[in-house]
């Protein structure tokens, strides 16, 4: 335990780590907020482009006033906005489509930046920390700047919530009610450029797009509510930054890379285990459903054919009837015994009264559904049995009661078989 505590607290002794931590928090929040809108508006490519295209602005700022955060910021902001305007300009005034336009403009701007860097003779700008991030080299003025940026972004998202929402979801409606979609777009591009600047020092230009896209995408797998999405994006951004920072400190990793890899790891977890549509969860649900279906099919079969003395014979019959391996049927038997659905008595295996009640419920469900789809002409006559075989497993008691009510409590199904009444 002590080792772990030491592992976590040790870095805090150093002031540069404290600064790095604050910077990481800022990056997580500002990128999480803006990234959510970038993702929803499908602007990921533009985000990537702007991240690269701010380079010439930063270098020019550096040429003018040295390592002054304000001029670097203004240079980056100017380059970002100019790039986003140029991208739309090319697209609108030629038959070049947006993705191609993005490719041309951002590589051009990035190349210009590299060319300018190579001309810096006397003081060298540390290009590698700019490209890959160096969160351990965060200065006080960097902190002040990213704090201002983060607060500004937070306020913008709160104040312009309605405008951002309607232009993202339905730009046509926005236009009609007098909200300028172009203005909101360029405002968002400004905020995007700002959040890129805030993340430059810790993550670097190459990877900053990951902080804009991956945490919101992770959050999107877990919720379909916008406010929750914004909050979760920030949280995942912050977690990635902080854990990435630790890894960077302890293992001497490049900070940008380790932050991004943590965020991708979180994405993978959500992709596999999200309660709503994670791959593993879906698979588990499918298997559980198929187990329940199998048990219900066995109950129906045993109800129809009565108790048996030879369970092995029953297993083989069921296996043939349902097309399922004997092993699966045996394990279903074990489960059904433990749940008190079947029992052995006087050398014979049969349904308990609980099992019989369950069988009656299934038959009722099956026959009511057949009656319903026949009456409403939802499924053709030849298919109704197959259809009911599927639906009998999923219909809830409430829904069955509703169908019964709607049909006026029918006595018989379309084949003329009696529909069992609900047990009181």
């Amino acid at each position: 335990m002590d080792i772990l505590t030491k592992y976590i607290t040790e870095p805090f002794q150093y002031e540069f780590i404290q600064r790095a931590l604050i910077a990481s928090l800022m990056v997580g929040v500002s990128c999480g907020l803006i990234g959510t809108y970038i993702m929803l508006r499908r602007l990921s490519l533009i985000g990537d482009a702007l991240a690269h295209a701010v380079l010439p602005g930063v270098v020019i700022g550096f040429m003018v006033a040295g390592k002054n955060p304000l001029t670097l910021f203004l240079g980056a902001l100017g380059a970002g906005i100019l790039t986003s305007i140029l991208i739309s300009f090319v697209e609108r005034n030629s038959k070049i489509k947006e993705d191609t336009s993005i490719g041309i403009i951002f590589t051009g701007a990035f190349a210009l930046g590299i060319l300018l860097v190579s001309q810096l003779k006397q003081v060298h700008l540390d290009l590698s920390s700019y490209l890959f991030g160096d969160v351990l080299g965060v200065s006080d003025s960097d902190i002040i700047m990213s704090s201002i940026i983060t607060v500004f972004i937070l306020l913008s998202v709160l104040l312009f919530y309605k405008q951002l929402l309607v232009t993202s979801f339905d730009p046509t409606m926005a236009h009609i009610i007098g909200i300028s979609t172009a203005m909101v777009h360029y405002f968002l591009m400004t905020l995007l450029s700002m959040s890129i600047v805030a993340g430059l020092q810790s993550v670097g230009v190459i990877l900053i797009i990951a902080m804009l896209i991956t945490p919101p995408a992770t959050a999107f797998l877990l919720t379909d509510k916008l406010k929750k999405l914004l909050l979760l994006s920030c949280i995942f951004g912050v977690i990635s930054s902080v854990i990435g920072l630790y890894l960077s400190y302890h293992f001497n990793f490049a900070s940008g890379a380790s932050i991004v890899l943590v965020s991708v790891f979180l994405f993978c977890l959500a992709f596999l285990f999200s309660p709503k549509d994670g791959l593993v969860v879906k698979n588990f649900r499918r298997r559980r459903n198929s187990n329940v279906n199998l048990m219900e099919d066995i109950i129906k079969f045993m109800n129809k054919n009565g108790a048996v003395s030879d369970i092995n014979d029953l297993t083989i019959k069921l296996s043939a009837e349902l097309g399922i391996s004997t092993g699966k049927i045996n394990s279903a038997f074990t489960k059904m015994k433990s749940q008190g659905i079947i029992e052995d008595s006087q050398g014979r295996t049969g349904l308990t009264s609980k099992g019989v009640a369950e069988a009656t419920r299934l038959v009722r469900s099956h026959r009511l559904w057949e009656t319903y789809v026949t009456e409403k002409q939802i499924v053709s006559k030849e298919d109704i049995h197959q259809d009911a075989e599927k639906y009998e497993h999923i219909l809830s008691d409430d829904l069955i009661a509703e169908i019964d009510e709607e049909l006026g409590h029918p006595e018989k199904d379309p084949h003329g078989s009696p529909i069992p009444k609900k047990k009181e």
């Binding site: 405008q163 929402l165 979801f169 409606m173 009610i177 999107f220 379909d224 509510k225 916008l226």
Partner: protein
């Protein structure tokens, strides 16, 4: 006063004129259908009137004013196909957008806005689904929420872009009943319509268009084989011809 006046409107789309020299005067309190073959510029006309596409020539007035002045008085019910239905938003929030023109720039919805939204949802029978995420709606329900949003906007003119595409018969009836109610309240309803069925049941007036205006007037005067033939340039499908026969 005319609800909509269009003078010599030409709109270019992809460098080709999509509609040319359209003149229209649409009186209040009518249900007006815009009819024409695919690519005839039906949606372009609607978007041109709404200022969604820039006009090359001509002008559009809504109640005698420029559209920008009369914005609150116009509601647009878009085609549901153009939406991202995974967007993280619920029914109530979509319908609340209809109240945005009445809420100040940084303001939030008042209790009155909320009750108007609830009423609109009740009218389209979606009150029980108010807090359902839009990703969980059926096709008919998707169309209903845009109708509810337009109702919440309390407009005087309603533009529908093919409202009956991809909805079930029950929803189509429900939507049309609401459209009739709007008409009885004196509202103007413009509908881009894709087929020739039910024309006489639905529309008081028709705009027949195929790049240029072929005809505009009362449905019984305009919905004539020779004018339809002229609009569709002889490209009427068998189904359309059969529907026309049904109408007679």
């Amino acid at each position: 006063m005319n609800a909509i006046t269009v003078k010599n409107l030409t709109v270019t789309y992809n460098k080709k004129p999509a509609i040319k020299g359209i003149n229209l005067e649409i009186e209040s309190g009518n249900i007006v259908g815009i009819i024409g073959p695919n690519g005839a510029g039906k949606s372009t006309l609607m978007k041109g009137i709404l200022g969604l596409l820039p006009a090359d020539t001509g002008e559009v007035k809504i109640f005698g004013n420029d559209i920008k002045i009369s914005l609150k008085r116009v509601a647009y019910i878009p085609q549901k196909e153009q939406f991202d239905w995974d967007f993280p938003i619920n029914v109530f929030e979509v319908v609340m957008m209809g109240r945005y023109p009445y809420i100040s720039r940084f303001g939030s919805p008042s209790p009155r806005d909320k009750s108007i939204v609830e009423n609109a949802l009740e009218k389209v029978e979606m009150k029980d689904n108010a807090y359902t995420q839009i990703s969980n709606l059926s096709g008919g329900q998707q169309q209903r929420i845009f109708l509810a949003r337009a109702l919440a906007q309390e407009s005087d003119i309603y533009f529908f872009d093919e409202p009956f595409v991809g909805v079930d018969a029950k929803t189509e009836v429900a939507i049309f009943n609401l459209i009739k109610e709007l008409k009885e309240e004196g509202k103007t309803i413009i509908i881009v319509h894709h087929d020739l069925g039910k024309i006489k049941d639905y529309f008081d007036k028709l705009i027949l268009i195929n790049q240029t205006l072929i005809a505009y007037g009362n449905t019984d005067k305009v919905f004539k084989p020779e004018l339809i033939h002229k609009t569709y340039g002889g490209q009427l499908t068998i189904l359309q011809k059969a529907n026309q026969l049904m109408e007679r």
